[in-house]
């Protein structure tokens, strides 16, 4: 084996720039595959973080335009039928629903939430920002970490207290290095006491928790929005493996409360974490598949390039092949020599491609992180193993024809070419 490698090294080193050009197609192909897989994993980590942001083991209850209304309104495919993205507000999800679902055996905790938008000011700084209202229970479920002070209590929630917990960035904007606790900010026409601030979270899709003001849900409903409904609710489960059964139970509770007999007329949608992830994973798989299919074309072209150059190499070394045959090289000796050379060429391309793809994925993760996305840099090991194997298999597939040509060569004709 080491003598084969010596031969191959001699062959490759005879024309290094041609070697690099030959493997370029493989480098690009393998690089793309690794980049797509790694970026996919990064995106998945981001989505997981986003889904997990509502808390582990949770199901989300969103309001939803009933099917009958929906078909009249838009005839859309049902993917955009939550009321937040719809002109028709659904006003039926109430605090009572949140309390009732909490009495189900597998529901450990729950909260309802609503969102408003107001000008918030402190001193001469004012910002138009989202005001997020939720039950005090949210502090037990949500993953956000209170950095300074505390969250509001259920008593404060019930008594419409004007207290606020600030997102990390807005707290810095208002108070800089100063202690924000006990300061009074203005939200719309009301004064609120700052009782806590969040640690930095990073943004999740279209909403950025770091820029928001968090206040008790009843305060938001009664004093800011003037409504009595919720935008969505979250239930935390004791046993997430029973998530599907529990979401059916929750749906039953809501139907009873909303006087709905026909599930087709539901004005809400209960989604487990697995279901949320499923949607994303389906899209991710489709996109990954598409990009890898494109990369496969590059691999094919790269493989043909390697085959082409191996034919050239065989022609260049006809005299050498003749000599080796005269010295006793058998069919397989010559075949393996050229096959190993082809495989090492594609392997070289594969290794460089893996490094390049990983570097690209690292850059993407850094760029995403700089925009505040919780995007992890992950190079899946199975992807690397697959990429390296594929590059070697390409070497075998596209190297075998030129190698067979070489091995079949008639020693005298080959010798006379010298």
């Amino acid at each position: 084996m080491s003598t084969y490698l010596k031969q191959v090294k001699r062959g490759i080193s005879s024309n290094p720039s041609r070697t690099i050009l030959t493997t370029l197609g493989i480098m690009i192909g393998i690089g793309t595959v690794v980049l797509v897989l790694s970026a996919g994993e990064g995106f998945k980590s981001y989505i997981n973080a986003q889904v997990d942001a509502f808390g582990s083991n949770t199901v989300i209850i969103q309001t939803s335009v009933p099917a009958s209304t929906k078909s009249r309104n838009s005839g859309s495919d049902g993917s955009a039928n939550n009321s937040a993205s719809n002109a028709v507000p659904i006003t039926t999800l109430k605090n009572r629903d949140v309390l009732d679902m909490r009495s189900l055996p597998n529901v450990k905790n729950s909260y309802g939430a609503a969102l408003g938008q107001k000008v918030v000011s402190y001193g001469n700084i004012s910002k138009n920002t989202f005001i997020f209202g939720a039950d005090s229970n949210r502090f037990d479920i949500d993953k956000g970490v209170i950095e300074k002070g505390r969250g509001y209590s259920s008593d404060e929630d019930r008594s419409l207290a004007q207290v606020a917990v600030l997102g990390h960035d807005i707290a810095v904007d208002f108070f800089g290095e100063n202690d924000p606790l006990g300061k009074i900010i203005r939200v719309g026409e009301y004064n609120f006491e700052v009782i806590g601030t969040y640690a930095r979270r990073g943004s999740f899709g279209f909403s950025n928790d770091d820029e928001q003001v968090f206040i008790p849900i009843t305060t938001l409903q009664k004093k800011i929005l003037g409504v009595d409904y919720l935008f969505y609710a979250v239930a935390e489960l004791s046993d997430n493996t029973k998530a599907d059964a529990t979401s059916l139970d929750i749906a039953d509770v809501l139907r009873r409360n909303h006087y709905i007999q026909d599930p087709a007329k539901d004005d809400f949608k209960v989604q487990t974490q697995a279901q949320s992830l499923d949607t994303f994973n389906t899209i991710l798989r489709a996109v990954t598949f598409l990009l890898i299919a494109i990369a496969a074309i590059s691999l094919l072209v790269g493989g043909v390039g390697v085959m082409n150059i191996m034919y050239v190499v065989v022609t260049e070394r006809i005299g050498e092949i003749g000599l080796k045959k005269a010295l006793g090289a058998k069919y397989n000796d010559i075949l393996y020599e050229f096959l190993i050379e082809a495989v090492l060429l594609t392997l070289l391309g594969g290794v460089v491609g893996v490094l390049g793809g990983a570097a690209g994925a690292f850059l993407i993760s850094k760029v995403a992180q700089s925009f505040g996305f919780a995007w992890a840099f992950v190079v899946p090991l199975w992807g690397v193993v697959m990429a390296i194997s594929v590059s070697m298999i390409i070497g075998i597939i596209f190297g075998v024809f030129p190698a067979r040509n070489a091995a079949r060569m008639d020693p005298i004709q080959a010798l006379n070419k010298e």
């Binding site: 005879s14 000599l323 080796k324 005269a326 010295l327 006793g328 090289a329 058998k330 005298i412």
Partner: protein, 238 residues
């Protein structure tokens, strides 16, 4: 008998026109002989050497090597014979470029079933041709005469019975050529069978027997008298 050719015919079919390059060669070579095959170009001497050296197969006729009929040998069987029983020395040396002298000589051992310590064997073969001090030189860093001696070392490394030398002095100046011929003579004295192909009479005179071939037939097969051999050598050295 080491080599027995019985009525060997080699013909080529060029689009319906059949050319007989060898027209029924009968030749026997015993172990330890030093035979020169002479003839003008186009006489068929190279084709004959290729057939005797198992680089080519006859169209018809029998070839017994070491008293074994080789007719039904596979390509890999022939490769094994070339590797273990035969050493080749070519006119244009045919060394691998960008490869050390030592690795060039060790090359046949790579294809051998009994490799042993390849480096040590290659080293002793190089010492036998007086190049023990050039082991790590690249094959393009040495002179033509040295290249041909490396080629002889390569032919020797598997300890073959026969050495085929095809115009071994053709690309050399007379001094290097005579060194190469003396090495071949010495190997013959040590018991190796040597078959030399040449068109140069003075080179052929180093052999003990000259077979002349013309138009695909052996036209002369005569022993070289000891006196003539010495005479030719003196002439060469003068």
């Amino acid at each position: 008998m080491l080599i027995q050719l019985k009525n060997i015919i080699k013909s080529y079919d060029n689009g319906g026109v059949v050319t007989n390059v060898l027209k029924g060669i009968n030749l026997s070579v015993a172990e330890g002989e030093f035979v020169a095959i002479m003839g003008p170009s186009g006489s068929g001497k190279s084709t004959m050497m290729h057939i005797i050296g198992f680089l080519d197969r006859p169209t018809t006729g029998d070839y017994l090597f070491d008293n074994v009929d080789t007719k039904n040998f596979s390509d890999d069987d022939l490769a094994r014979i070339r590797n273990e029983r035969i050493g080749f020395v070519f006119q244009s040396f045919n060394l691998l470029p960008r490869t050390t002298v030592l690795d060039n000589v060790a090359l046949p051992l790579q294809y051998s079933s009994k490799k042993g310590d390849a480096q040590a064997r290659a080293k002793s073969a190089l010492e036998a041709v007086g190049l023990g001090h050039r082991l790590d030189f690249m094959s393009n860093q040495i002179s033509g005469g040295q290249k041909q001696r490396v080629a002889i070392a390569r032919a020797l490394v598997c300890d073959p019975k026969v050495i085929f030398a095809d115009e071994p002095t053709g690309n050399l100046d007379s001094k290097s050529g005579s060194t190469v011929m003396h090495i071949l003579e010495r190997l013959n004295n040590e018991g190796k069978t040597i078959i030399l192909v040449t068109h140069d009479t003075s080179v052929a005179m180093h052999a003990k027997r000259i077979v002349t071939i013309r138009d695909g037939d052996i036209v002369a097969d005569e022993a070289v008298a000891e006196a003539e051999r010495l005479h030719s050598k003196e002439e060469e050295e003068a």
